[in-house]
Symmetry: C2
Subunit: 335 residues, 2 copies
């Protein structure tokens, strides 16, 4: 059977038990040019929550009654597409389900030797987000100060490490002393700010005495406000996400946006999908960094598709440690 | 005697009678390399209000007890500087006073034949702001939709006309039917929105059916919020000012900034001072446009330096019509 999570209603705030409905459907057959993929690992990302809203974002809202949209990795179990064979490992927008029938053009082959967890994190959408967000949108340069919010998260931790590899001074915010210690001691951040303990304004002032040249924002809310206040001349705010606002009934905007005038600053949003055509550029940098131990990533695997909705909420209160993945099925490729 | 307005205390909200103190001092003597300028026309700009705040902006806050900072035009009455002679007409940060002693490098000679009112508006900081803000920061291209807030103001009215000259579709917001009619009928705007009468969200949707490619913002607040909601893919928000927020005790930030992510949008601030080295580039475009009647500007002259503080407040409630200037002294050059 094919378990599928359908979006049953649009959540207000966190996902609840009534938000998604788990149904059982027959395993699909591939249409012409399609493959059927057995999902092995499902990626949980803050953007999943955004897709549940009624308003379209950079992708259309998930319709009520449709299979929940999600990035996943799995194994081809049936193919009517050229170039893809049974047994191939692929990633793509496969959805919150056991089996997905998709057009071959919608999936990417995972190279032999790349763990599926890496294909869904450092070598996948997360790695591309960090790489292009920091370097292409943020244009971080050696000697500059880079502030990263959600720095212990999947994207933030890569952003900070890539910034260090570029010769930047790197400051991260994270929730709790353990995550802050990991940033400083294991990942080499110059400073880490526990946003739960610190007075953010003073902590950022102390950690970024010359101001913030690039603020890579995953969080929004208070830290965005403070970062704008400390923006250096011609500073750049890279808008990657705003996890503090995704469950808010009344999202908050940064009054400090006026500092963009005084500092000739720039605030810019981006979507990693736009960088897919340039993926090779990032991968050719990311692979040797990982192989040489210069770029580290953590994964946090939750067992069982049925636990995906509850696990998604962990992204919003920090009860996860690294890239959050759901193991949909046991397979040697997804251990 | 030399009347000077000193900043007596920092205003909360609008300027009050106690904000500035009018004192009489001796007419200064020029130091070595200096000129003494008899102010003829004083430019009132929203940024004057920002400079009165305690916090530094792109320029340091005006200290309490100092002569109020302001752009003005006047005639050199004494010179100990090479290249400047008695009788020359100049512009610069001369301040709210009758006479100013300044270094020669701080003033710009007004070319013969250029009215001082034009030197303080279309051919001065206002013209450069409109030209570089729209074309350099906003990168407006033919066929794009440009939305301008404060469109009947000194800067906004030039922005809209320059955008039309670039082949853009141009929509402006202004206060009241008379100003809107002026934008549409005299300046050739494609649409004008009376922000006092219209439901902004619906009015912008109707006037910008393909979304807003460039939003040139002089106002902030509600119109910024709405413009972000209607941003086109890769839209640009040019932050020129936020006149709705300068007197606010708690300035408001745009919750809609998240649309910058979905739309891969950019919000960028700028300061016209940075473009002084490129002034000739703008002037060589602006002069023929004005001469050919393609670019029109209005001035609104208030008589008497003593009226400057009250007149400044008119910028914030729209009780002015065109570039607001104060006639400090009668002179054939400043009629």
């Amino acid at each position: 059977m094919n378990r599928q999570f359908l979006l049953a209603k649009r959540p207000k705030g966190l996902v609840e038990s009534s938000t998604l409905e788990l149904v059982e459907r027959p395993v699909p057959e591939p249409g012409d040019g399609q493959v059927v993929v057995r999902n092995l690992l499902l990626s949980l990302d803050p953007t999943n929550r955004v897709w549940m809203n009624e308003a379209d974002s950079y992708l259309p809202a998930v319709p009520i009654g449709a299979v929940m949209r999600g990035i996943a990795a799995g194994r081809v179990v049936a193919s009517r597409a050229k170039g893809l064979a049974t047994g191939d490992l692929v990633t793509g927008l496969l959805g919150w389900c056991d089996y997905a029938a998709v057009d071959a053009a919608q999936v990417n082959l995972v190279p032999v030797g790349v763990p599926l967890s890496a294909a869904l994190s450092v070598f996948g959408h997360i790695g591309l987000t960090a790489y292009f967000g920091l370097l292409d949108v943020g244009r971080a340069k050696p000697g500059e100060t880079v502030l990263v919010s959600g720095a212990a998260g999947a994207t933030g931790s890569l952003v900070g490490q890539i910034a260090k590899l570029q010769g930047c001074r790197v400051v991260g915010t994270a929730g709790g002393p353990a995550k802050c210690a990991w940033l400083r001691e294991d990942l080499g951040f110059d400073a880490a700010i526990d946003y739960r303990a610190a007075h953010l304004h003073e902590a950022v002032a102390a950690a970024c005495p010359d101001g913030v040249d690039v603020f890579f924002d995953n969080v929004g809310g208070d830290i965005l406000e403070v970062a704008l206040q400390h923006l250096a001349l011609r500073g750049r705010v890279v808008l990657c996400g705003a996890i503090s606002q995704y469950n808010a009934v009344s999202p908050k905007g940064p009054a400090g946006y006026l500092h963009l005038i005084a500092k000739r600053g720039r605030m810019e949003g981006f979507i990693v999908l736009d960088y897919i055509p340039r993926a090779a550029e990032a991968i050719s940098a990311l692979v040797p960094w990982v192989q040489q131990g210069k770029l580290r990533y953590k994964i946090d695997v939750v067992d069982g598709l049925e636990n995906a909705p509850e696990a998604l909420n962990r992204l919003f209160d920090g009860r996860h440690d690294g890239k959050l993945l759901v193991r949909v099925a046991k397979d040697e490729a997804a251990c």
